[in-house]
């Protein structure tokens, strides 16, 4: 019986996986903490003024942000560690459900002058449009896999579920092959 592990490339070492081209970089990150929060979000956000819910066009603070996934669901991400004032996992009397998804996503930061062109290869979406408010879901199909997209000061951050991260990584490598490599040091 054929070993299909020969067809599928091994998953990269996420600690070292990056793409560097002349006008494009893709760097891999892991969230220190991430949570799915569903329920009474208006009250939840009201009690936590430091949090603002972002759609895919709003520019986020790269270190900590909340992304709208659905009318009653958001994803909280913190790269630097935990967020204070978060209810315990499970059901809270505040009317929210909280689930730890800190290891669920691999994050790809797409930056550089070619970042928008690369994003255009992945989805039929106007990534550089003006923000329309946080009501829009940041979840979309990007390069054939489900991804959550956040706009960052230097480009975009793709959050992809870990089981599909090697697939998106291969796609990013393939798409970025159209960009020139940087000159050798």
């Amino acid at each position: 019986m054929a070993d299909r592990g020969l067809f599928w490339s091994p998953a990269p070492d996420w600690q070292r996986a990056d793409i560097r081209c002349r006008d494009l970089t893709v760097t891999t990150r892991s969230a220190a903490a991430a949570w799915l929060v569903s329920g009474a979000l208006a009250r939840f956000l009201e009690d936590r003024e430091e949090m603002r819910c972002h759609g895919p066009l709003d520019v986020c603070d790269p270190d900590a942000y909340a992304l709208r996934l659905a009318p009653d669901r958001l994803l909280l991400v913190a790269l630097g560690g935990g967020t204070a004032n978060l209810p315990a996992f499970g059901w809270s009397d505040d009317g929210v459900a909280v689930t730890d998804v800190s290891d669920a996503f691999v994050l790809f930061d797409v930056a550089g002058r070619g970042a928008l062109d690369l994003m255009r290869l992945g989805a039929d979406y106007q990534f550089d449009a003006a923000p329309v408010g946080s009501a829009e879901s940041a979840m979309m199909v990007f390069a054939g896999v489900k991804a959550i997209v956040a706009r960052m000061p230097q480009g975009w951050r793709l959050h992809v579920e870990r089981p599909y991260a090697p697939a998106l990584w291969r796609w990013l490598q393939h798409a970025a092959s159209a960009w020139d490599k940087p000159p050798a040091a």
């Binding site: 019986m1 070993d3 299909r4 592990g5 067809f7 599928w8 490339s9 091994p10 998953a11 892991s30 799915l36 569903s38 329920g39 009474a40 009653d72 669901r73 996992f89 499970g90 059901w91 009317g95 459900a97 689930t99 730890d100 998804v101 800190s102 290891d103 669920a104 996503f105 062109d117 255009r120 290869l121 992945g122 989805a123 039929d124 979406y125 106007q126 449009a129 390069a143 054939g144 896999v145 579920e161 870990r162 089981p163 599909y164 991260a165 090697p166 697939a167 998106l168 291969r170 796609w171 393939h174 798409a175 159209a178």
Partner: protein, 958 residues
Amino acid sequence: MIPSRRMEQGGAIDRAQRLRFTFDGEAYEGHAGDTVASALLANGVRIVGRSFKYHRPRGIYTAGPEEPSAILDLRLGNRHDPNARATLEPLADGMELRSIHANGTAENDRLGFLDRIARFIPAAFYYKTFMWPNWMAYEHRIRALAGLGRVDLSSRATSAAHRHVQADVCVVGAGPAGLAAALAASTRGKRVMLVEAQGELGGTVLYREAMIDGMPGADWARQAERVLRDRGVEILRRSTALALYDHNVLSIVQKDVAASANDERLWLVRAGRMVVATGAIERPLLFANNDRPGIMLADAALLYTRRYAVKVGNACVVATGNDSAYEVALALRQAGSDVHLIDSRPERDIDPSLAGSMRAAGIKLVPATLVEGAGGHRSVEAVALSNGQRIVSDVVVHSGGWTPSLHLYCHAKGKPSWDAVTGSYRPGSAVAGVDVVGAAAGLWDLDAMLRNATEIGGGKAGEAPSSGTGVRQWTAPTPLPAGKSGKRIWVDLQNDVTIADIKLAVRENFSAVEHLKRYTTIGMGTDQGKTSNVNALAVLAASSGREVAGLGTTTFRPPFVPVSMATIAGSERGELQVPIRRLPAENIHRQEGACFREYGGALRPAWYGADADAIARECIAARGNAVVFDASSLGKIEVIGPQAAALLDFVYYTPMASLAVGRARYGLTLGEAGIVADDGVVLRLAPNHFVVSCSSSHVAWMAAQHEAWRQDRFDLAQVFIHDATAHWATIAISGPASKRIVGELGLGVDLDDARFPHMSVATGRFAGRPARIARVSFTGERGYEIAVPATLGAPLWQKARAAGATPLGIEALGVLRAEKGYIYVGQDTDGETLPHDLGMGGPRAKRQDAYVGDRSLFTPAASKPNRKRLVGILVEGKAPIPVGAHGIELKDGRRRSLGYVTSSYWSAALGHPIALGLIEGGLERASAAIELEHLGQRFTGRLVPPCFLDPKGERLNG
């Protein structure tokens, strides 16, 4: 040596750059800036291919995407294009070109004799002749005679990812009208995109005489491009619009996306407004032998003369019935050719200034005359005129008028209307969001075009560029040949269709336009009748005594030009075609020597090691010691909230609300038809917090089911569904030694059987992070499933291995669970299996409340006693029976299927083969003996309960 036809001066080619190429094995040279077609013409190559059906010699006929004949096999490095259009392909150094229809070379085609028997194989010959025994008996031989290029599977095809763009206005075509529309639209702050098929913007003004805003047309076009770029307009060159779909989604094929390769990329543009400025296509004149090499459309001849400095002929006949070819005649004369200009119009209908300028240039103008036929065997040598005159000529260029290119407009469901004055279709009904400008809109006066396009682009008429070019009779209906010449007159060069073929179709009553197309194949092929359709309609109308306006058109279908399947696929190939889920500890399994396979959309270890006994060895380890199995792809769907228990009670066939905190329960979910959809284990972590551990392949479906039912019948503020599968790595440890091994992992959980019995769940810690430990079993042995954050999956696996657990792959797991009669939903069930068919009729009998699929379990069909039920099957002998083998009974000498084998293995623990199956009546059949058959092979078996090992379940605590 063929004399070069390259003129010493002129053209837009780079004479300093010489490019070498071959055609049919002969070496030639061209220049940067040449197309393949211009380079072949410059080298005096007349015959570039053979016709599709009759293998007649054919030459270059046009200069654009409408080319019916000059289609070549192109190789360049790793690139291979079996059907490259010579007229569109930029010449590159090292190109190897071959003609595609010839058996041999285009010059010497061994199948050229077919033309001599043409009278015996007219249109529809195939349909009438190859009927017995059936078409397929002949098809492969006929295709070997015809057909286009052959795909080389070893060649490297393009794999560029599709690009998505959104724009307020997308202008297709960068001729004068397209540029004017883009200029007007871009001044108003709109996001504008401009798409041009050629490498340079400007369209016809690049080679026809035009002054715009006081400068030559080519200069004006270059200035317009600079302005557009400054305004941020996205300009795609060498990009052809293929199709316009609903909601103004335009697909475009772009050539040369990378400097290193002649790659193609598909663009998908979503535009608020689409401006179609695709120009017009010249119509041929119809005369005998009008397909001979050396005969080409007039505008193409002008382009080759002025842009590529090719002297197309020494003695040229220009045949026309409109003004547009007069500039061509003049250019040919200026190139040094002897030129006869044959105009079907009488002298009084010809602009006197035009006629005067022709004569002043030494052109012999012959009014009120038609070209009746071309003479010459392998290429044109002379023409015969309707006035009886014969002119020796090596080139005939002709123009029967112009046809607006309305393909995109028609893709958008626009209805063209017939214009009898010009003999062409123009845009008719308005299409929301789509505007047609320039020649595509049937405008032929340059000033009118520029004004109209500017207004369409949002500008005022006064802002339009100005040309000052007067109105001329640019196009007119194509004059049809009179009488019977006895020679063939070609309407469709690509499909070898003549006027006689159309008349034959009419005689046989295939006179509707769609019937005509299918009877004769006219308008089919890779050029889609761009040069033939309107002439075919004119001939059809004349042959059937009708008006063209009443005939209608065939359907304009995408793509406008051929596009390779590889381009449509883009990057979706190989690993990128269907993404598959990967285990967090995959690379550890690779190091362990795992052989992988795809199971339920996830890449998982099938077994470990290369030896033939790997599966049996893993089975023995599971029953004798302990195994470790990566179950990370199993679902971990959290159901949270005060109504979580009620939701699970509804979604599950097995009641879940009664599950105690800290306990786990196996259960089935059904579809609304009562069919078993999934099985899995539900864990209760807290009164309002459950985890659904469903099958790996059903995670997305189960999450969607829970969400759908939540939104359908529960309080949206009281229950929520979180799919947290990706967060967790799940490592299952099973076997008599599993308790010891789990103890050595240091999870901080009391594993005492009294406090942590089978089907319990507890929370511990691993490497400083939460770990969830569930005491469940896939194998029938004592078992623990340990879920840790995904990044800890590999360390946990390694620690279990270090403690003595043997790695277990999916194949051995299949054996172990079959020994216990544990089902795989989808393998041991089918599209009819109800829960009581599996021996799980308890909830059906006892539950009084509503749950998914409940009513379907009580239909007469669901209650039949002879339903197929899960059974164990023991067969005689040592070899497992094939999966899919049917249980059979003989009735009146005929076999009847009783059901089939669903799982079958050699059991190392039992020392004999075992099988599970779905058999009518199950164990309640009158006889336990059963005959089985697979592909003619018979087996004898015995039906037994599906659990072969440890029916009391004592090993769960072993």
